[in-house]
């Protein structure tokens, strides 16, 4: 037995979600992701997907679903065993290894551009792209020197 217009309800729900979204404290969301999940994400790596009115832990709640863009890196040793999984959005943590004789691995995991260049772009990496990644176990002088080389390559005519 329909007693009201479904569109009125849907429009009201949408307006409510829009109002909640407008006043969202994005900084607090970023902080929560950082402290609770060790994800250091910028606002443009999060996109609102949908909202709903639900009951959660015995109370009315507004459930806001966000799509979060995170790159995961799986670390595999020379024996083919996975020894770590790192999210590249995580805060840097001190690197620990099980085998002290294992060669030190870079602390920083290479991230990738969120959206790749168009298909058909040059396949061969430029010297700047292919140069060894600057890592935290480099001394400051070497880091600065690598950066100078990177800039020189980028600015080469």
């Amino acid at each position: 037995m329909k007693i009201t217009d479904a569109r009125a309800i849907q429009t009201g729900e949408k307006d409510l979600m829009d109002a909640i979204l407008r006043d969202l404290d994005w900084a607090m969301i970023e902080e929560t992701l950082k402290t609770k999940y060790s994800l250091n994400l910028g606002a443009d790596r999060m996109a609102f997907r949908q909202g709903d009115l639900v009951v959660h832990q015995n109370q009315v709640a507004y459930k806001l679903d966000f799509d979060v863009q995170v790159t995961l890196s799986v670390m595999v040793d020379r024996k083919g065993e996975c020894f770590d999984v790192v999210t590249t959005a995580a805060e840097e943590k001190p690197h620990t290894t099980e085998d002290s004789s294992r060669a030190a691995a870079p602390d920083q995991v290479e991230d990738s551009v969120a959206n790749d260049p168009e298909p058909g772009s040059a396949s061969a990496p430029t010297p700047a792209e292919a140069s060894p990644f600057i890592t935290s176990n480099m001394d400051t002088s070497r880091m600065a020197s690598e950066i100078a080389d990177l800039i020189a390559d980028i600015n080469r005519p």
């Binding site: 606002a43 443009d44 991230d111 260049p117 600057i134 600065a144 020197s145 690598e146 800039i151």
Partner: protein, 246 residues
Amino acid sequence: MKKIISVINQRQGAGKTATAVNLAVCLGLMEKPTLLVDFDPQGDASACLGVGSEQTSGNGIYQALAGRRTLADLQRDTDFDFLKLVPAGIDLFAAEADASAMAGKETLLRDILAGAGNADYVVVDTPSSMGFLTVSALAAAHVVVVPVQCHRDALLHLGYLLKVVAKVRSGINMGLRIGAVVFTRCDTMEEAYAQVDADALKNMSSSVFVTTVARFDGLQGPAPVADIMAKVSEDYFDLAAHLVQE
């Protein structure tokens, strides 16, 4: 020819917004028709020029990205005769989600800024991340200005940033260059030499303009307005003059 300058660093606190705003203001004070595009959903650059989020809802750059408004519609005057602003708008957060289904999405901003016909300089402030918005700003730019804090950890992240710049340059923007590296909260180059390797910085200076910007406590509005005689104002004017002359 219009020069598009994107101010980029994926790290928070590097001084992007301060650099973007003060650079744009200095260019305006030099009577160079300039457009400041606030491409950071946080809207801090817009707020620095007195435009709050309540004024920009539905009137920000996202409307151009979504094809609903033109850049000309969105430009607004500022207190500076030669400087206009396209604010961010809170709806810019939606840019990633809406654009993800479109091919060539990274060049959207470039196409939009081609319509900034009245500006000789376009300065783009970007968010503290390396997502769609920042990559779009790289794809649109003629030059990149990189503010960076003068310490070791900042160099580590600068290296990653430069790799991304190289990738964008080889993929979708072959004319992209680093226009300047700006060590922020650093009073002199001697201080920068002390924090970072002097030889490496001098080596870097042969490829790019390396400069410092003096400490500036908080962004209480543009530095030249607060105190045009301050060292920080002089530093930003030097940066602007270099980008005009190169």
